[in-house]
């Protein structure tokens, strides 16, 4: 079977190479039939990659330990679910997943984005082929998932912290995001190569960009939730290089999603948009490189592997190549209009872009600082949490505020009087909230009060937009409130989907602020019968319970929680001892308070031989809004992504002339 997998990968590699070389030739010489065959090669490579994937999945399911990959990442006791998710538990499998997702995206994008025009599409195919060739090359020659060995009796097992339901969903989501950014990149490069620098490539890839960005966002939230419930230190984001690796392209893509609207509406910022898409794609490659190369010390880096130099070379090639191309096409990227006023929708988009890019680049600086400092001073040094928090506050809080201001400012030129009117209610709401917060004693954290006041301002501004729109639509013609509201959203999916996403970011900000700025932490060593107090709740330790599971022993501390005289329930923080892997993992216990959105987070820091426990208890107010934000985010993204017949017709009319020309 391994031979079949290898053969499928070689086939995929050759087809992608053909899509690259043949496709380039076809686009350059304008050969239509060659271009079609290059496109077909792209389709074929997807089929071949599916075969390779099936072979690896089959080997995992059969516990075929003659596959080195299977032996290294699973064991016989491992439940079937985790055995299958071990597909992306190691490097070779992860690369195969990259290639699978990439070729899937390539096929879907090439088949659905024909509106972009034949000349551009002819160059998109070899660009996608180039990226695919690189990953197929790694899989065939450097890190093959189909390396074989004499079959061993049992495998090494899967890292216990990967034995979690999130393992099934978090990495694939991130990959769908990382890899999805290839699509807008390929179309941007296609447009530049074909000298078609109008906004058609943006329109054709809008949904793909949005989908990739949404997947990346969801993937990160899932990772944060995984860290929160499983890794057991009480947080959800640690500014670890590998976490930052996913955040940076997401920030760049967020900037891109905003700035393309200016190009669509006003024909400005063409160079900036192309640079952003290069930045986003470059950062997604850099993210994969960070995760996989082990060049920077991270709690996530599982390996010091051989693919690092390959990746670095490819990133340099992509960056240098695309920047050269942008430079060569500069005359074609002139703006049609210019910014008319510093107080306009365009200008707020511009500020938002600068802040997002500044945040992404300062994070990038923090991530590469260890390497730079070693090169410059010969001594490795790292930057830590205060550095990142400082820049998150400096750039993130104004960004939060802009989310409320932007939608209320008119395009082109806004009059100050009109602004005053639109801002009246949100400002009043924010002011009242600020005073109420200070009165309630939230002044213990200045950043917290600022963040919450801004949040109220933005939420009020968004609510106002929905109310105004609904009222206007109702006035138009005899609709009821509900019908007017749904017709408002259906007719402007992108706009109102965007507002819903904004609301989710505000919820996220509220949750993060509550969990960080207003957190209470208490630690204590308790013997059975002893108790401790955290933020008003009394925790009584009752002793330990131990149970034998198929591949581990589960030890749990029994903790009864009381508020006043009221018994709130028994919570069981503890540890699992895994046999095959010879490892311990922390199993936290969390009490969600659905009414207030806060969590009581219990960690069995140390299990002592004399029967006592070192218990760490964290009270995290409002932290559950962070997870609620995830659902709202998905909802908003879906609204914006949903196919829109009206928009399709509008676009078809707009490009009707252009389609005749090609």
């Amino acid at each position: 079977m391994a031979d079949l997998g290898r053969a499928a990968l070689v086939t995929s590699f050759l087809l992608l190479l053909y899509a690259l070389v043949g496709g380039s030739l076809a686009a350059w010489k304008g050969r239509r039939r060659l271009a079609e065959s290059a496109q077909n090669a792209l389709l074929g490579s997807f089929a071949a990659t599916v075969v390779a994937t099936a072979v690896l999945v089959g080997a995992l399911a059969r516990h075929d330990f003659s596959f080195q990959y299977v032996a290294d990442h699973t064991s016989r006791e491992l439940p079937l679910g985790y055995t299958l998710t071990a597909f992306w538990g190691g490097q070779e499998g992860s690369l195969l997943l990259w290639l699978l997702v990439l070729s899937g995206y390539s096929v879907a994008a090439v088949l659905t984005a024909r509106r972009v025009g034949r000349e551009v599409l002819a160059w998109v195919v070899p660009t996608l082929g180039l990226v695919g060739t690189f990953f197929a090359l790694l899989l065939v020659f450097v890190a093959s998932p189909f390396a074989t060995q004499a079959a061993v009796a049992d495998g090494a097992g899967l890292n216990p912290s990967l034995q979690n339901p999130y393992m099934a969903i978090h990495p694939p989501m991130l990959y769908l995001g990382y890899v999805g950014l290839t699509v807008p990149f390929a179309f941007a490069m296609g447009a530049l190569l074909a000298r078609r620098t109008d906004e058609r490539w943006i329109v054709a890839t809008r949904r793909w960009t949005l989908a990739a960005w949404a997947f990346l966002g969801i993937g990160q939230l899932l990772g944060a939730h995984w860290a929160y419930v499983e890794i057991g230190w009480g947080g959800f984001y640690a500014w670890d290089p590998v976490e930052n690796a996913a955040l940076m392209p997401w920030l760049a893509a967020t900037a891109f999603l905003h700035s393309v609207m200016i190009q669509e509406k006003r024909g400005m910022l063409k160079v900036w948009n192309v640079l952003l898409v290069v930045l986003a794609f470059g950062l997604s490659l850099f993210g994969t490189f960070l995760t996989r190369s082990g060049i920077i010390q991270s709690i996530h880096s599982f390996t010091q592997s051989s693919i690092g130099p390959w990746f670095l070379g490819f990133i340099c090639l992509i960056t240098a190549g695309s920047l050269t191309l942008v430079f060569a096409r500069l005359p074609l990227l002139r703006a049609k209009t210019r910014l008319e006023s510093l107080v306009s929708r365009e200008a707020t988009f511009l500020y938002n872009n600068l802040l997002l890019v500044a945040l992404a680049l300062t994070i990038l600086w923090g991530v590469v600082y260890p390497i730079l400092s070693e090169v410059v001073t010969g001594q490795t040094a790292t930057v830590s949490k205060p550095y990142y928090n400082f820049f998150l506050h400096t750039f993130g809080l104004p960004l939060l505020l802009l989310m409320g201001i932007g939608p209320l400012v008119a395009w082109r030129r806004a009059s100050l009087r009109a602004l005053g009117r639109t801002f009246l209610w949100p400002l009043a709401a924010a002011l009242i909230a600020g005073i109420a917060l200070l009165a309630a004693g939230a002044g213990s954290s200045r950043i917290g009060v600022i963040a919450y006041t801004f949040s109220v301002f933005v939420l009020a501004a968004i609510a106002l937009e929905f109310v105004r729109g609904t009222v206007a639509r109702k006035a138009l013609g005899g609709l009821g409130w509900a019908a007017a509201f749904s017709s408002l959203i259906a007719r402007n999916r992108r706009r109102y989907g965007g507002y819903v996403v904004h609301a989710s970011v505000v919820l996220l900000a509220i949750g993060v602020t509550g969990a960080s700025a207003y957190e209470t932490v208490r630690e204590s060593r308790l013997k059975p019968g002893q108790s401790m107090t955290v933020a008003g709740d009394r925790l009584v330790f009752r002793g330990f319970r131990s149970r034998l599971e198929s591949n581990h022993r589960a030890i749990r501390g029994l903790v009864d929680v009381y508020r006043g005289d009221k018994y709130l329930g028994r919570y069981t923080p503890g540890k699992n001892q895994y046999f095959a892997e010879d490892q311990v993992s922390n199993e936290v216990s969390i009490r969600h308070d659905w009414l207030t959105g806060g969590d009581l987070f219990l960690i069995a820091d140390q299990v002592n031989s004399n029967g006592s426990i070192d218990l760490k208890a964290l009270q995290k107010p409002l932290v559950n809004l962070l997870w609620l934000a995830g659902f709202v985010f998905v909802g908003g993204a879906l609204i914006a992504l949903w196919p829109d017949a009206r928009e399709e017709r509008r676009l078809a009319e707009r490009y009707a002339g252009a389609t005749v020309r090609v």
């Binding site: 490097q91 599982f302 910014l339 600068l354 040094a381 830590s384 400082f390 820091d605 140390q606």
Partner: protein, 129 residues
């Protein structure tokens, strides 16, 4: 609009300048990063550093009482330094593992900052070939 420059350039230039100013201000106040050292490089450093090394020998003491005591050795070398640490001990911490911990050297003993111990993932899951 002859003679009138686009405000885009002004915004971009001012913003870039503002970002750089904030950045420089931060780095000048907070200083650079924390140096990451091996046990053999510790001598002479008395400020806060990150120490990276391999856990060797036996560990003793209690991380939640008077402190956990263990030795760190250069990952590729022989110099060792005793470490005393208080706070949460990661699940993966044990003899033979590579760890990073913040702290400062006092009288030949590396006194760790509480709750800064981080283990690097074991290489077992990705055998070296």
């Amino acid at each position: 609009m002859p003679g009138k420059r686009s405000p885009v350039r002004l915004i971009v230039a001012l913003s870039v300048a503002a970002v750089l100013a904030v950045f420089l201000l931060y780095t000048s106040i907070a200083g650079g990063g924390t140096p990451v050292l091996r046990p053999s490089q510790l001598a002479g450093h008395h400020g806060r550093v990150s120490l990276m090394g391999q856990v060797v020998g036996t560990k003793s003491g209690d991380a939640h009482a008077d402190g956990l005591r263990f030795q760190l050795r250069d990952v590729k070398g022989t110099t060792t330094v005793p470490v005393v640490y208080k706070g949460s001990v990661p699940d993966l911490f044990k003899t033979g593992r590579d760890v990073v911990v913040d702290g400062r050297l006092r009288n030949g003993v590396f006194v760790a900052v509480p709750n800064t111990l981080v283990t690097k993932c074991p290489s077992k899951y990705q055998p070296k070939r």
